[in-house]
Amino acid sequence: MQPFTTYSSRTGLALTMVLAVGQVNAGDDVFGTPAKPGDDLFGGASLVTDVIANEVNLAEDMLTGDEVLNWSGSFAWQSAGILIDQPTVEHDPQVQSELSGNLKLDARPNVDYRVLLNLDYSATADGSSSLLREAFADFDLDNQLFIRAGQQTLQWGVGYFYSPADTLSQDSIDANDPDQDRIGTMAAKIHKPKGTANYYAYLLPDDTANSYSIAVKGEWLLGSQEWGLGVVRQANNELNLVVTGSVPTDLGDLFTEYNLSLGETSLGLSAAGSLYDRSDELLQQFTVGMRASQDIGPDSSLSLSGQYYYNGLGYTEPTWSTAANDWQSLTLGREVAEQLSQQLAALMIQLADPYGLPLSASMLGLSSLTDGSAMLKSTVTLSPNDFVSTALSVTTLMGDPGGEYAPMGDLSRYELTLTLGSQSF
């Protein structure tokens, strides 16, 4: 009997609770406190206002903008004090100051055509310089094919620190600063969205080879995942088959790239320590990584990014580090892989606004698993407002001289930076 009595009591209690909840007047309860939003929110007679029938096409309106010509840009003055601590070499403290920014001119004469110029500028005590980051025209054919011609930032891969699938961009990702803007590549891009898929074709002139690189790629959604498959014929006749994938998980966004290449022009390194032609070999590159972000308190978040890269173009024996002089004489005037190490890894942890403070902190670690060199950079930034910020960073390089991430051997670099007037307009 006892179990049923208990059950009846529980159901009776539940029923009582349900009835009790039914007697709660939510309006009175919630809207009685003046500080709470909601006061008078639901006091009116009508919930639904008249139908709004605005016939302006906001989507087309965005393609033309308010004016045909639009300027925008950014400005910042930065001064940095730098100290380098190296066991074998004495370094004087340095001060470097720079005024830098960006200017953009966006011309949109009609909804089907626009031209964009994107220029970086900088000035130091030694002089000034400018760099054309992008210059391209956009137009479309019947809103079906979207064409961008000119110097443009290409998005071919999905990797964060390393992107072996991106064989097109002239300016590859800098693992030291993966969020840094990249310089555009001269190309004509045709983009065809179809349903949830995207198809791209690229034509890239190569003045050195007096030829063109040609690339095609498709991207497809599989549930919440996105996969891409591309083929590239480089101007030097190298062929690449690339696969990219982005897989959202409960922990974060998983990304992966694969590149199978034939016709590599850089030389291979044999076990005996000699260089050889490998243009008829199939070479593979592969990377996998993850990015995750988590709110850890009021207005603060913790982000984690990590990536492993198997660089099939690189070499297994770290001769450049273990026998630097031999390596230099061996490779003098000969083409070797741009990234020497065969295995690389990167990890970055970022903390934003801890405890609601105007602080951010980050730690970046890069390592060549082939030659054992590593770079560790820790940065703390204080930004009390939009116009002023101060950053202190400590960079430690570890490894034998000549190593991928420690070209000068063990070294520490301390940098204190003051940024003033930083603003976008």
């Binding site: 049923f4 919930l47 302006v56 079906q144 983009h191 919440s224 207005d299």
Partner: protein, 255 residues
């Protein structure tokens, strides 16, 4: 005799339980109909929707922040696009959802990165999931329903439990206006039962048979004083070109 008493008690308990369970089941049935009706009322299956939203985020830590975004929705394809117009330093950033995939676009790097529908929207108290089509009937089941008054409106207070872990909050309480069936207020709870956020939808506009909230207020219940208010204007149901809900459009409108 004892056996008889026990049998009667057993029968009474069983009957009571059956009636109660039947009542709960009926409430759940009616509740799921209500959720489906809310979805029908707030999803514009025949039209595209464009609007300009002004978002005021009040934070005890960061002060007051104003963002202006343009929003485009195509509920029949479960697709939306949000593009920031103000402030200038984030102009052009955007969110594009196609099917189950949500991308964040950064115009500086010209990169699309995957992001989660559960994440907060641009450091505000709103979530990315607040801007998509209404999916109450898919995401939640009703576990309780009582009549309740909210200001001058007659409502039903529904208690909801998530049907999967794909949703932002595992349990909710929503105050549903009796006619038309529209959500006026929602409380979101964590797995431990802690109140995380309260949302208010005090005004709607009508387009055809469907309704759209023209004001949303999201109150952070964890950090006292933090809230986000969204007001929508220039609402239009004009048909949009298919190309608007593509990566190509996001790239074209950006500087």
């Amino acid at each position: 005799m004892k056996l008889l008493t026990n049998s009667r008690s057993l029968l009474t308990t069983a009957l009571t339980s059956s009636l109660l369970l039947a009542g709960i089941w009926a409430a759940a049935e009616s509740g799921s109909d209500t959720l489906a009706a809310i979805d029908r009322n707030t999803n514009l299956l025949d039209n595209d929707v464009s609007m300009v939203a002004t978002m005021i985020t009040e934070s005890t830590a960061d002060g007051v922040d104003k963002n202006v975004v343009r929003m485009f929705r195509r509920d029949r394809d479960d697709t939306f696009l949000i593009l920031f117009q103000e402030p200038e330093n984030i102009r052009g950033q955007g969110y594009l959802q196609i099917d189950e995939t949500l991308w964040f676009y950064d115009p500086e790097s010209r990169k699309f990165t995957h992001t989660s529908i559960k994440d907060s929207f641009k450091d505000s108290d709103a979530n990315n999931s607040d801007f998509g089509s209404s999916t109450w009937a898919i995401d939640y089941r009703v576990t309780g329903s009582v009549a309740a008054k909210l200001g001058s409106f007659s409502t039903h207070l529904l208690t909801l439990a998530a049907t999967s872990d794909e949703v932002t909050y595992p349990s909710m309480k929503i105050w549903v206006n009796d006619s038309p069936l529209l959500v006026l207020k929602a409380e979101a709870y964590s797995l431990s039962g802690r109140l995380m956020r309260t949302s208010y939808f005090p005004s709607y506009t009508q387009a055809g048979d469907a309704y759209m909230a023209t004001k949303m207020i999201f109150v952070d219940e964890i950090v006292s004083g933090d809230k986000t208010t969204l007001t929508f204007d220039q609402v239009s149901t004009i048909d949009l070109d298919d190309s608007v809900f593509t990566k190509a459009y996001v790239e074209r409108v950006n500087k």
